[in-house]
């Protein structure tokens, strides 16, 4: 792996991302992507952030969390309340930062005791925490209780969505390649063996959990500043499950799979909107069938890597070249 920031793969990625951004912006400007499709795309961006950040916790580190909606709620409400007081981009930035701080503290409080638990117990403890967060929000004055916040300024625009999404993907993919990331993968493979190799398992689990929580709160914040309205009902445990479904549907441990799954599920939801009554039945049945026939998800643990792709092309090209030379 190249440490060089200006390596070929990094440059190609930057160009690809910029082209994608320019293309989408152009389509939006020209009105080919109308406002309905725009909101679908923005939702997909939010879901991608949530899915990659949960994948960090569940797929990479192997810690089964059902509490992602709670951290999202913290981010959303912090940004919502602060931008209502300071309705400009400084307010939004402040809101996002406050959300980061609160969700970091909450994630530490949640994770330090509970990450000692295993599997299902951890899942149910995180579910409990996220429900507690939601119930507190539902009963606080500053959050306007069950009625929710309204009139949040619409500050999030397409470039912000896109930037946050790319940022989240970058943070998660580079975390996987970093030293703590490798420690997390080791913990996921075999916790006892990892501990025997001198990895402080609790510490790295907490790190992954906090990074995931911060990104979830970022997703919440940009969501709050796009949809005007926030209610506690948006952050029930069904929301956490929706995110988990994206991670498992794509393939646990693969970031590209989470991105693809978030896009596919977003499009599926858009398509199913027309069958309001049947939507959830089809969704549920699809989950069951998917888990029975392809439990490892669409992509499994396969990760898209530009570097490998380039090498393969190069190898093929030189193969062809050599063959041609050989046969003359």
């Amino acid at each position: 792996m190249s440490k060089n920031l200006l390596s070929r793969t990094n440059i190609i990625w930057t160009v690809l991302v910029l082209v994608l951004f320019a293309l989408m912006t152009l389509l939006m400007q020209m009105g080919i992507i109308n406002s309905y499709y725009q909101s679908v795309i923005f939702n997909i961006c939010i879901n991608i952030i949530l899915a990659v950040s949960l994948n960090l916790i569940v797929g990479i580190c192997g810690q089964f969390s059902l509490g992602h909606a709670g951290f999202m709620a913290i981010g959303a409400y912090s940004a919502g309340i602060i931008t209502k007081m300071i309705p400009n981009y400084w307010g939004m930035l402040l809101g996002i930062l406050v959300g980061f701080v609160i969700s970091t503290v909450a994630a530490l409080i949640v994770s330090i005791p509970t990450l000692r638990l295993k599997g299902d117990y951890l899942a149910i403890a995180t579910l409990g925490f996220s429900e507690i967060i939601r119930i507190c929000i539902q009963n606080m004055k500053i959050t306007n209780g069950a009625a929710g916040l309204t009139g949040i300024p619409q500050l999030t625009t397409w470039p912000i969505f896109f930037f946050c999404m790319i940022l989240a993907i970058m943070i998660c993919t580079s975390f996987v390649k970093s030293a703590p990331g490798r420690a997390c993968i080791a913990i996921n493979d075999d916790e006892i063996a990892a501990e025997a190799m001198g990895i402080n398992t609790t510490r790295f689990k907490v790190i992954a959990f906090v990074v995931g929580a911060i990104l979830a709160s970022l997703a919440g914040a940009i969501m709050a500043n796009y949809f005007y309205v926030l209610t506690p009902g948006q952050f029930t445990f069904n929301r956490s499950i929706d995110i988990l479904v994206m991670v498992v549907f794509g393939g646990m441990g693969s970031m590209s799979a989470s991105v693809i799954a978030a896009i596919l599920i977003g499009l599926l939801n858009m398509y199913l909107q027309q069958f309001t009554d049947l939507r959830m039945i089809i969704y549920g049945a699809a989950l069951v069938l998917m888990m029975i026939f392809r439990p490892q998800g669409i992509l499994g643990t396969w990760e898209f890597s530009l570097e490998k792709l380039l090498e393969k092309w190069k190898a093929r090209a030189s193969n062809k070249g050599s063959r041609r030379r050989y046969y003359g």
Partner: protein
């Protein structure tokens, strides 16, 4: 003090219902290590079955109870055979997602056919109550206590004294060894689902009459709370589930009576987390040593 005793009685009747649902969770978890998220929905189907047979067929309470238990038991077996059996060797998270998918299918299929409107029941039980000093027990509460008690005793007898009960315990202890001893693991697991779901069906009719309402999404929150009860008592332990259910019911009622009812659910989850941190195996559970 008088009010406290009365609240205790109310809490016990609510707790009995949680205990019945928690028993199903604990048995299924004990045998195949799966959090059966669809269990709360089986309970909802119990409430709807009760609505149907009492409103359209005019059954009285006891026959309706039996019909509910049989219908829910069969539904449980059906769910197990279709959705969980192919995944018995799969990772836990896969099975959990399947359970969630099944739960969505049941909830929204019911909503599709029955609509979101609240269904109410015809009067099934006499509107009578007895007063013992400071406390009043309604006929319905008495029925809830006695049904729960009888079912729990029956369940304990089945598990401890019958051949199939012994098979259940054996499969739960070691599936492969049980298979080698000639036990049909598949049938035993299906029977466990039948028993657990039948208890949920009984809880469904009881709660339906208690609150006089049935809605398609009524199973979600009580399902989670019953799961909390099962964890509290030590998941996999039958007496644990009963005690846990009663405890959660009493806590909830007392919080509603003396504290802020809005924080009722938060308290339940708080208890769950405390139990998990202090004693992860629950009250009656056995702590398992980690083997390398």
């Amino acid at each position: 003090m008088d009010q406290f005793l009365q609240q205790l009685v109310n809490g016990l009747s609510l707790g009995s219902i949680y205990a019945l649902v928690a028993l199903g969770y604990t048995m299924v978890y004990g045998i195949i290590k799966l959090i059966n998220f669809a269990h709360g929905d089986v309970y909802m189907i119990g409430a709807y079955t009760a609505y149907w047979v009492t409103t359209y067929f005019g059954l009285s309470f006891l026959p309706a109870l039996l019909v509910c238990m049989v219908v829910c038991g069969l539904l449980g077996v059906l769910i197990e055979r279709i959705a969980y059996k192919p995944l018995r060797k799969a990772p836990r998270i896969t099975a959990l997602i399947t359970a969630i998918g099944v739960s969505y299918v049941i909830e929204y299929t019911t909503q599709f056919f029955m609509g979101t409107s609240v269904r109410t029941y015809p009067p099934l039980l006499p509107n009578q109550s007895w007063t013992f000093g400071p406390i009043t027990i309604t006929y319905l509460q008495f029925v809830i206590f006695s049904v729960t008690l009888v079912l729990c005793v029956l369940l304990t007898l089945i598990i401890q004294k019958t051949k199939i009960g012994r098979a259940m315990r054996a499969v739960s202890a070691d599936e492969n060894a049980a298979k080698l001893m000639g036990i049909s693991v598949d049938n035993t697991i299906s029977f466990t689902f039948f028993l657990g779901s039948a208890l949920a069906g009984a809880a469904g009719i009881l709660v339906g009459i208690y609150y006089n309402s049935a809605t398609p999404l009524m199973g979600m929150v009580p399902g989670l709370k019953a799961f909390v009860a099962a964890v509290f008592g030590g998941i996999g332990s039958i007496p644990g589930a009963m005690v846990g259910g009663l405890f959660i019911g009493i806590c909830e009622t007392l919080v509603t009576a003396y504290g802020n009812s809005m924080y009722r659910d938060a308290i339940v989850y708080g208890i769950l987390i405390l139990v998990l941190i202090i004693r992860p195996a629950g009250l009656f559970g056995k702590a398992e040593k980690e083997k390398v």
